[in-house]
Amino acid sequence: MNFELNDEQRMLSESLTRFLADRYDFEKRNKYMALPEGFDRKIWQGYADMGLFALPFPEDEGGIGGTPTETMLVGEAMGNANTLEPWAEAIAIAPALLASASAAQRAAIAEGIISGAHVPTWAHLEPGMIERDEPLKTQENGGKISGSKTVVSYGAEADLIFVTAVDGAGAVGIYVVRKGAEGLETRSYRTQDEQRAAELTFDGTPAEKLTGGIAADKAIAVAESKALAATIAESLGAMEQAIDLTVEYIKGREQFGRPIGTFQALQHIAAQGVVEKEQVKSMAMYAALMCEDADEQTRDLALSTAKVKMCDASRYVGQMSIQLHGGVGMTMEYSIGHYFKRLTMLEIAWGDRDFHMDRLCAAGGLAA
C-alpha cells in the first residue's frame, strides 16, 4: 500500500503546472475561448511537446508507458487551471479505444495524436439517450455509418472522431471518422463551461472499424473508466482552486469593519469545503488505482463509489464558493463562477450521480 508519487510523477505535475501558469489566466482563457475553434492549437501543441499525449501509449508504440497515476496528475493540473481543451479524450479515451485495434491501425492513428497534429473526440451518446449505457441506434453498414450523436466535445473541431455504432447483427463496434468526412454534418455550440460541443449527423459516412462485439464493449468500458478517473482528478484540481480563490476573497473583503474571513460562520463553511476536497483527493487516487483493475465489476463499482463522492463534494465546494463570494460570485468577471460551472459539468460527465448510484445499488454495493 503506497500513495506516494515517484520523482518522475512529481516532475510531470510540476512542469505541467508551470506550463499552465504561464499560459492560463482569466484574460488569456477568455482569448482562447474567442478563437474560432474555442481553444488554442498552440497550447494543444505545447501539451504534445511536453509528451502528455505520449503518456498513455506503450513505449514500443512511440509512447511513454505512463499509468493512470500520471493521468490523475494531468487531470488535477488541468482542473486547477480550468483549461478548455479536450485532453481527457486524448489521454484517457483514445488510447483505451485504440488498444482494441490492430497494431497497424493503432500505430497509424496514435502517431497523429501523440504529435499533437490530431485532436480526438468521442462520439458515443445519442439524442434520446439519457444514460450512457442505453442501446445505440447509429448503424454501420458496409464500412459506412449513419445516425446521430449528441453533446460531442469539440465535435466540429476535432480531427479524429471515435464513434460507436451497431452493425447488421446488432453488435456494437468502435469506428474512426475523420474531420470533414463525406456525409458528416456538425452543429456546433458553446457549453455551459465555455467549452464547445456539437451534434453530429452521419449519413453514409465512411468509417474505419477498430473493433466490434465483446471486444468493443470491453474497450468502451475501459475507456470510460479511465475518463471517469481523469475527471475525478480534474474536479479535485478545480475544487482546490475554487477553495483557494474563495479563501483569498474572504481574507480581503471587508464588511462591518473587518475581513469577512474572520467570521466563524464563514470559516466553518470554508473548512467543510476542505473536508470535502480532501476526500476527493483520496478518491482521485482510489479511482486512478482501480480504473485498470482486471475484474470489471470491481473496477466499475470502485469508480462509481469515487464518482458519487466527487459529485457530493463538488456540489458543496462549488456552491460554497459562490455563496462566500457573495454577489460578485454571480458575475462573469469573477473567475469563481467559471470554476463552479466547470465543476457542475464534471458532475454530469461520464454518468451522473444517479447513474453511479444505480450501478452500486444494483450490485448491492462494494464487496466487503
Binding site: M1, N2, F3, E4, S282, L289, T305, G365, A368
Partner: protein, 397 residues
C-alpha cells in the same frame, strides 16, 4: 502509487485474523456483535491474551515491549481487531499515557508503569476535561501545589471515562496560575486509591454509566509521579492528542457494522420482502459505504505519508478530516440501525429487563448506541474545534 497490500502484509493480516479467531472468547465476540460495549472483565481478559502474544501495545517501541510493526501493520491489526469484533486494548493506557511516559517520562516511571499498562494490571483513566474547561482545555483549574516531596491536588475533572474501573488517572493540573494559561499546566499521575479522590457516576442519556466526575480534595501525590518537567504538561497533552488521530476513525469497526447491517437487512422481512431489497434502504446503505470508502482511503493516504517519512510537524488537513468524518461514520452506523429497527427500537431493555424485549437481539442496542454515539463528534476536539483548526492552520483565516 499502489493500493494493494504487499504479500507480506496480507500474510500478516491472515496471521492476525487466525490468532483472533483462535483466541478471542466466543462470549466476548457475541456480546460485542450485538452492539454492546465490552465489560471490564472482557477488556482485561483480551488485553492480557494480546499482551502474552506481544500485541497489546502496537505503537510502542520494541525496547518497551512493542511488536516493532510498521504503521501499516498497526492499521491492519487495529482493523482486524475491530472487525472481529474484539475489545480494543485500553486506549487510555496503551495509546495515551503509555506513549507520553515513553517519550517524556524518566526510567523509573517507565519501569514502574509500562508493564502494568501493557498487561492491563493497571486500568488508567484520563483527567483532562473539567466543568469549566471543555473545548478550551487550557483553561483548566484543578490546582496542584508543591508541599515538600508531594503535590497537593484540589479540583474536579469530568467526563472521565470508566473512572469507576480505574486504578490510576493521568491528570492535567495547574501548577502556575500566574502565567499564560498553556504555560502553567503539568502532567501528573495519581493513584485513584489516594485519600481525597472521589468518583461520582454520570448517567448518560442512553442509560449507561461510562463517564464520571472525579473530585480531588487535598490529594497528596508523590513528586516522583510528575511526568517530564513542571509546567510543560500542555506540550505532553498535545503530543498525546496527536497520537490518537489514526485510532479515532474506527474504520474497521464501522465497516464491520455495515456488513452486519447488510446481513440483518437480508433476513428482515418488510412488506413481504427483505429490507435489503427496498430501494430506500439500499440507497442509504450504498451512500454510507461510499463515505466509508472515502474515509478509509484518506486514512490510508495519511498512513502512507507517515511510512514515507512525511514531515509530521506540519499540519495535515487530512488529520482533521479523519476526525470529523470518522465520528460522522460511527454516528451514521448507529442511525442506520435505528432506522432498520423501526418501532422495535422503542422498548428500553436496559431499564426494564427482558420484559421489554420485542424484536431480534440487535434491536436492543440500536437506540442506546445512537444516543451514546452523539459523543463522538464532541470528544477529542469537537467538529467545530476541528473546523477551527482547519480555518486557522490550513486556510490561514
Amino acid at each position: 502509487m499502489d493500493l494493494k497490500f504487499t504479500p507480506e502484509e496480507e500474510a500478516f493480516r491472515q496471521e492476525v485474523r487466525d490468532f483472533i479467531d483462535a483466541n478471542l472468547p466466543a462470549e466476548t465476540r457475541e456480546h460485542l456483535k450485538l452492539g454492546n460495549a465490552p465489560t471490564k472483565e472482557m477488556t482485561v481478559q483480551w488485553q492480557k491474551i494480546l499482551n502474552k502474544k506481544g500485541w497489546a501495545t502496537p505503537r510502542w517501541p520494541e525496547e518497551w515491549g512493542g511488536p516493532g510493526w510498521s504503521v501499516t501493520q498497526q492499521y491492519i491489526f487495529q482493523q482486524e481487531n475491530q472487525s472481529a469484533p474484539a475489545p480494543d486494548p485500553l486506549g487510555f493506557g496503551v495509546n495515551m499515557v503509555g506513549p507520553v511516559i515513553i517519550q517524556f517520562g524518566n526510567e523509573e516511571q517507565k519501569k514502574r508503569f509500562l508493564p502494568g499498562i501493557a498487561n492491563l494490571d493497571d486500568w488508567w483513566c484520563q483527567g483532562f476535561s473539567e466543568p469549566g474547561a471543555g473545548s478550551d482545555l487550557a483553561g483548566l483549574k484543578t490546582r496542584a501545589v508543591r508541599d515538600g516531596d508531594h503535590w497537593v491536588v484540589n479540583g474536579q475533572k469530568t467526563w472521565t471515562t470508566l473512572a469507576q474501573h480505574a486504578d490510576w488517572i493521568f491528570a492535567l493540573v495547574r501548577t502556575d496560575p500566574d502565567v499564560k494559561k498553556q504555560e502553567g499546566i503539568s502532567f501528573l499521575l495519581i493513584d485513584m486509591k489516594s485519600p481525597g479522590v472521589e468518583v461520582h457516576p454520570i448517567q448518560t442519556m442512553d442509560g449507561g454509566h461510562e463517564v464520571n466526575s472525579v473530585f480531588f480534595t487535598d490529594v497528596r501525590v508523590p513528586a516522583e509521579n510528575m511526568v517530564g518537567e513542571v509546567n510543560k504538561g500542555w506540550t505532553y497533552a498535545k503530543f498525546l492528542l496527536g497520537n490518537e488521530r489514526l485510532g479515532a476513525p474506527r474504520v474497521g469497526s464501522s465497516m464491520a457494522k455495515l456488513e452486519e447491517l447488510k446481513e440483518i437487512a437480508k433476513s428482515r422481512i418488510v412488506r413481504g420482502k427483505p429490507l435489503w431489497d427496498h430501494p430506500r434502504f439500499r440507497d442509504k446503505f450504498v451512500e454510507a459505504q461510499v463515505e466509508l470508502k472515502a474515509l478509509e482511503m484518506t486514512v490510508m493516504r495519511v498512513l502512507s505519508g507517515i511510512e514515507a517519512g512525511a514531515d509530521q510537524s506540519k499540519p495535515d488537513p487530512a488529520t482533521s478530516v479523519i476526525k470529523i468524518k470518522g465520528a460522522q461514520m460511527v454516528q451514521r452506523m448507529t442511525e442506520l440501525y435505528v432506522e432498520a429497527a423501526g418501532e422495535q427500537a422503542a422498548p428500553w431493555l436496559d431499564a426494564e429487563g427482558a420484559n421489554a424485549q420485542v424484536g431480534p437481539d440487535w434491536t436492543i442496542r440500536a437506540a442506546p448506541n445512537y444516543f451514546n454515539m452523539r459523543k463522538s463528534s464532541i470528544y477529542g476536539g469537537s467538529d467545530q474545534v476541528q473546523k477551527g483548526i482547519i480555518s486557522k492552520a490550513i486556510l490561514g483565516l
